[in-house]
Amino acid sequence: MIAMIRTRPLLSLLAAAAFTLMLGPVAILIGVAFTAGDTLAFPPEGFSLRWFSAALDYPPFIDAFGTSLVVAAVSTVLALALGVPATLALNRGRVPGRRVVEGLFFAPIVVPELVLSLALFQQVMVGMRVTALGALVVGHTVLLLPYTVRVVGASLALADPRLEEAARGLGAGPVRTFFTVTLPVMAPGIVSATILAFITSLNNVPLSLLLTGPGVATLPVEMLNYVQSSFDPVVAAVSVLLLALSVAVAFTTERVAGFTKVFGR
């Protein structure tokens, strides 16, 4: 890095500016969360953990955190249960109109989430009388499908398609082949997809906005509600907790499954 600064000063300056622009607001937020004062002013007045304890004492946040975790966990499992077989079929099988199907699995990224949220609210919550929690799970599962299909698909594509044939040729039936060869080869991709999906669900706002009910709201949505009435550092503290969780989860991925390996190449 020192060498880069010396040989390409302009590029280094631009890089530094970009990082500052991206991380600046986050740094400010973290600073504000630890303030001893009463406002979101920056620089913060003093150092205190009072806003963290305030956040943990506020029942709607605790409930919302529970909701977020449940929704994230269930949706991730469902997105994997649907996405892994789908990507296997797309990658290894002969699917008619394969490109169209792949596009379909990519669609949730393209469709505006608020539109999806409204549709789910109208048709699923009101029309079918499903609870907010149910609608949240449905919505999040759909949202996470592109990630599970793509990320697992990437690790499958990197693997030699002859591996399964080799197993079959040696005497392993289709089931044995799947569990002893295909699944282990996909494992890094599945782990990465799991964590990526979980974080995406945890941090989601637009989709979850309309899908609320009595005692049911995801944490980011609850934070939004709070900010509309009170404007104090509690929100900053909750943000920092959420950020810490996401970072911890991303860090674990890197260690466990070589996250970058799936996106790199």
């Binding site: 693997a159 030699d160 002859r162 591996l163 044939e165 080799a166 197993a167 079959r168 040729g169 040696l170 005497g171 392993a172 039936g173 044995r176 002893t180 060869v181 282990p184 080869v185 494992a187």
Partner: protein
Amino acid sequence: MTPVVELDRVGHRFAAKGTAGTTAVADLDLAVRRGEFTTLLGPSGCGKTTTLRMIAGFLRPTSGRILLEGADATRTPPEKRNIGMVFQSYALFPHMTLLDNVGYGLRARKVPAAEARERAGRALELVGLSHAADRKPAALSGGQQQRVALARAVAIRPSVLLLDEPLSNLDARLRVQMRRELLQVQRETGLTAILVTHDQDEALELSDTMVILNGGRLEQQGAPRDVFPRPASRFVAEFLGYDNFPELPGRGPVTIRPEHVRLLPAGEREADGDTGLDGTVSAVTYQGAGCLVEAGIDGAGGPGAAVRCLHPADDLRPGDRVRIVLPRRHLVELPAGEQR
């Protein structure tokens, strides 16, 4: 004696939407005897890999039957066929050690764990890699991976070893060395082997029987010593490097290898019975041990008007007059009226 592998009028046609489809293999009859090394040889697209994959069970023939050890196996799935397949890309399981890789087939056949480990160990020893038993495939070189792939196929004692261009991914020198090791393993185990290749040197060195395929059809079949000096068709001759198809007055199509053509100084005469023609040198390419000399035949025109000769000396130059000699015993007659 029942052949280990028998193909009875086997064909494969890829059906494409709206068209008649492409015929990859047509009406192929083949019988492979126990303990023999058979190679399927031909250019890309000749159907050799398709044929191998049908024998393995990864592709179902659209016509004909495949018999393994005398029993109809046309509809049998690959895992029930007792074959040992070696792939061009080796296809070693990346998440297992070498020993586990080699033992995979044994475990799949429910061989007791201790026996499986022992047999896997012996197979690894056969290819000289027992010291690396606990390593993973990624840590190995191409040649070593190839050896492990071979050990893995051999460990299950299959009826037939199927090899799909196993040496094509190796560099030239390693290929020659691995070729010899492959033959040695086959001899030591006594396994029947079918190998697919486009490399005629490989086929010549390894085969007990060479099977030359062209456009999905069998062109010629036999021991290298019978096939090589006597190509049965223009296709086979060209494929085997017979670079000369001179048009001789009063004779049908013939062919001769460049190393068998002799160039005498103009005025000298050939021996009785040999064919001699007057000609002029048109090109000389120095090759160190000799020269590749191209000479035009007097009075001839078109593609059959020139012969190529591997001349052992460097004493000819373009424009020189020569007596082109085609020795009778090396001149091969080809079927008349053949399409290329």
